[in-house]
Amino acid sequence: MGEKELIESAKRGDSLAFAILFKENYQFLVKYLVKVTMNPDIAEDLAQETMVKCLEKIRLYNGKAKFSSWLITIATNQYIDSIRKRKREQNWNKQEQFKRKLQWQLESKNEEWTDVMDSLAKLSDDVRIPIVLKHYYGYSYEEISEMIGIATGTVKSRVHNGILMVRKELNRIEKEENLPHEHKIQS
């Protein structure tokens, strides 16, 4: 059964069709949420909340966008709502802890937690979300504006400023890394 047929069956209340749709999109959804939240625990919680919301709203899905795009739109809005409610992003120590968890997970697979990832993790969520959507998933500014409910101009400026912040942070890291080296040469 193709995705369209599954969605039609899900709209009629078929629980198996829903389950297949969710299973097929679960990894994509969690990976998106991990990149946006930089927090594996919140990502998994939000993925589950997104699926529940999707069950409620499936009749509103008109098929214009891909089902996966619709899912990440719901997930993004769930995340923005949760930040407003719980002020999750203000808990810096926990955020650091989760970042280290991600770092460890990558390093256990012999992959490096790069300075770019570190700089991205330091951005605030309202800047990181549009950057990931634009420069990784390839959505247009207009699509992102519709997805997260802010003006296109605001999306553009957040992406632009975010890129500048990443560049600045990378320069700072580079200078810090070069500093002891220069000292060694001088001594």
């Binding site: 629980s15 991990v34 529940v52 790069t114 990832m117 991205l120």
Partner: protein, 96 residues
Amino acid sequence: MISEIATNLQKFDQSYDVYSPDLQWFEQLVKSEQEQLNKKFRRDICLFILSGLIILSMGLVAVFNVPNVFLIIQCVLSISLPIIAYLLQRKRVTNL
């Protein structure tokens, strides 16, 4: 810089493992949520019917027992509602 960000995110995506539960887990989740939604729907319908009946019975009591008060309320509402709607509309336009 942009391509560097995309490359790093892609590497991250490829090396980050996600444990995906089996189909039965998803089906169980869907069934229990559908049950909750049905319960909520039934509760909302009951509340809607109940409040409708209360309003209707209050209206009927007013018509038969105190018709003057009923007529005054009708007149006040039919005049004030369009005015309130107009004022709200104007406020929304000026806020844009």
